[in-house]
Amino acid sequence: MNHVTSETFDQNARAALGDVQLRGALRNATSLFGRRRLAAARSLDNWEDLRNQARAIKDDVLLHLDSYLEQFVANAERRGAQFHWARDAAEANAIICKLASERGARTIVKSKSMTTEETHLNNALEAADIQVVETDLGEYIIQLAEETPSHIIAPAIHKTKHQIAELFTQELGMPPTDDIAKLTSTARTTLRDRFAAADIGISGVNFGIAETGTILIVENEGNIRLTTSLPRVHIAVMGIEKVIPRFADADIFLKLLPRSGTGQRLTTYQSFITGTRTNPESEGPEEVHVVLLDNGRSRMLSHPVTRQSLACIRCGACLNACPVYQQIGGHAYGSVYPGPIGAVITPQLMGLEKTQQLPYASSLCGACREVCPVKIDIPRLLLHLRSEITEHGSPAVAQVKKRTSERAAFKVWRMTMTRPWLYKLSARLGRLFQVVLIRDGKIGEVKGIARLATPLTAWTSNRDLRPIERQSFREVWRASLRKN
C-alpha cells in the first residue's frame, strides 16, 4: 500500500512529473476521454438545457435535503429495504461489519464504490476477518496490487498491460500473456467462483429516487448486476447527497452521466432496485440494506458556494479536462477523490489542516467548470477554500506559515496597484534591477546570490519570465505625441 497523503502534495506532484510511463498513460487516457465526452455531448442538441436542468434539480434537492431523504427512506422501507444511518466512516464500517458478522458472512463481493473507498471499508472488513473481493476489473487489479484508484472512472489507468500481466501471473498463476482479452477473461473466470461463493454483495449508489424509493446504479461490466443479484444479502452504501426527487429525473441524469464519464450514450447496464423481492420465489437477494453516509457532507450545506460540491455525480470529466491532473494523475492528490473535484471535496471532508495544498493544485483555468455536467463552479470553490486558508486563518489551519507570505504579497500588490505613483516607481525600479537577471532577453532560472534577493525563485525554477519592457505604454504614447 502506498502511503501518499495530501499533506505532501507538492512532493507527490513532483515525483509524478518524473514518471514517464505514468505521464504517457495519463496523456492517452485524459485526451481520449475528453474527445469522447465532447463528441457525446455534441450528439445532443440540448446539452446546455440538460446541464441547467440537472443543476436545478440538484439545487432543489440540496435545499430540501432533509425532506427528500425522509421521502426516499420511507418509500424504500415500505418496499422492504432496511436503512442504516452513519454519521461518519467509522460508524458506516461498524454497521457493515455488524451486518456481516450477524449473518456469519465469510466472503463479500464488492462492486466499485467511491463512497466505500472514502470510508476505507475494505480495511475494516479485513480487520474483522472477512474476505472482501473487488469485482470491477480495474478495482480488482488495484486490490491485487495493494494500491488505490487513480481515476474515478478508470481506477487502474496508471498501470500498463505488462504490469497487470505480471501481477496476474504472480497472484493468479496465469501463464504470462500481454493479450488484454486473455487478461480480462482470466479475471472473469477467477471472479465467477467468488460471486458463486459470496454471502453478501456490497455496492455503491449513483442515484436514490425519492418518489419511488429506488436505487439506481450504472455500470458497463455486469459485476454490479452480479453483486446485487447473486448473494443472499445486498448492502448499498450511499452518500446522503445522492437523492433525486422524481423517477423521471433519471432521464436527465442518465443522459449526462455516461456521456460525461466515458462518452457513451448509455452505459451497458442500469439497475433500478426498489426494496426487496415481493415474491419469495423470485430471483435476487432476500435482504436489501442501505447505509446512508454523512461523513462531513451535511456541513457543506452551510454555504451556497460549498453546497454545490454536493451536486457532483462523480463522472470524472473534470479530471480529464484539468491541466494539473493531466500531468500528475490521481495518486499525487493523496486522497480518494482526485482532480479538481477532489481538490474541493477532500479538504471539506477531511478538514483543511492536512489538505491545505489541494485548493492550490489548480491554475484556475476553468476547464473543469466548462465540462461539469451539473455546472459546479469549481474555480470559485477553490478560491473560497483558499480564502478560508489565508483570510480567516480558521483554527483548522492555525499552523499555516507559507500562506501568510501569500497574504502579505497580495497586500503589497493591492497597495501598488491602487497608487499610480507607487506603481510607476516600482516599474522603474524593476526595470533598473532586472538587468542583472536577464539572459538572452528573458529571465531564466535565477541563480547564485540573486536567489536571496528575489521572490521570483519559485516561479523561475520551472519557467522563464518575460522582463519588463524598456518603455511603458504611457511613455511610448507620450513620446509619439511629442513627435507629432
Partner: protein
C-alpha cells in the same frame, strides 16, 4: 467475534440517534446558509422548479425497428429482424450453429419462465444439449446460453428493458456467456424517457428493472475495449416485426 459485542450494542442504539443527528445537521447547516442564499441570485434563479422532461427530438424518420437495430449494432450487439415464426426459428438455429462453430463446445440453454420463449426454444431442442427453466443461482453458472423475452426496447440507444416482476430473467440474462432476447417490434419505444415512464405503473416501480445496452464491456486495461467481462459476451436480440 468478541470484538463485535461492543459495536453491536452501540450501532443498534445509535441507528435512530444517528438518523436524528444527521437530519438535524442537515437542517441546522441549511439554516446557516439562509442569509447567504438570499444574496446568491444565481441559486435563486436556478431553483425555479423544473417541470416535465427535456424532450429529445428524434428528427430522423427512420422506423423505430431499424433505429433499434442500428443503435444496438453500434454497441456490438447483434440484432436480427424476423417477420414470422419460421424466420424466427431459422434465426435461432443459425445463432446456435454459429456459436457451436465459433466459441461454444456445448449448448446448454437456460430459459426464463416466459412461456412463449420456452415454446420457441423447444422448437430447436434437437440442436441443443440441454434446456433448463430458470436454474437457481447455484446452478446457473453451468449454462452456456440464456434465452429470455424483454418488456420493452429503446430505439435511440438499442436498449432492452428487463422487468423482473414480469419475467424471471434476472439470472438467465446475466450469468451465461451468451444472452438471446426475443422482442416484439410493438414493444419498442423511441426514447429512454418513454421507457422510464413505462416502468412507473401507478407510482410504483418493480423490485428490479434492468436496462441492457449491448454485451458486457470494459476498458479498464490501457483503455482498450474488451467485450464480455462479467456479463454476457454476446447479446442477440431477435425482433419480431
Amino acid at each position: 467475534m468478541l470484538r463485535f459485542a461492543r459495536t453491536d450494542m452501540q450501532t443498534r442504539t445509535n441507528n435512530s440517534s444517528a438518523r436524528e443527528a444527521i437530519l438535524e445537521s442537515i437542517r441546522s447547516h441549511l439554516s446557516l446558509s439562509k442569509n447567504l442564499d438570499a444574496r446568491e441570485e444565481e441559486i435563486q434563479h436556478k431553483t425555479a422548479r423544473v417541470s416535465g422532461l427535456v424532450s429529445t427530438v428524434i428528427s430522423d424518420a427512420t422506423p423505430v425497428v431499424d433505429l433499434f437495430k442500428a443503435s444496438l449494432e453500434e454497441v456490438d450487439g447483434h440484432c436480427l429482424i424476423v417477420h414470422d415464426e419460421t424466420e424466427l426459428v431459422h434465426a435461432l438455429t443459425d445463432i446456435m450453429r454459429n456459436l457451436r462453430q465459433t466459441k461454444l463446445s456445448s449448448l446448454r440453454v437456460a430459459v426464463s419462465d416466459n412461456s412463449e420463449v420456452q415454446r420457441l426454444t423447444s422448437l430447436i431442442a434437437l440442436d441443443l444439449d440441454e434446456i433448463a427453466v430458470t436454474p437457481s443461482a447455484a446452478d446457473v453458472f453451468g449454462f452456456d446460453i440464456g434465452i429470455s423475452g424483454a418488456q420493452a426496447g429503446i430505439a435511440e440507444t438499442g436498449t432492452l428493458l428487463l422487468d423482473s416482476s414480469r419475467e424471471r430473467h434476472r439470472l438467465v440474462s446475466l450469468v451465461p456467456p451468451v444472452h438471446i432476447a426475443i422482442l416484439d417490434a410493438s414493444q419498442i419505444v423511441t426514447t429512454l424517457g418513454e421507457a422510464l415512464s413505462l416502468m412507473q405503473k401507478d407510482e410504483q416501480v418493480s423490485p428490479i428493472v434492468t436496462l441492457v445496452t449491448g454485451p458486457s464491456r470494459t476498458a479498464d486495461i490501457e483503455l482498450t475495449l474488451a467485450i464480455g467481462v462479467h456479463g454476457p459476451q454476446d447479446l442477440y436480440v431477435i425482433v419480431r416485426s
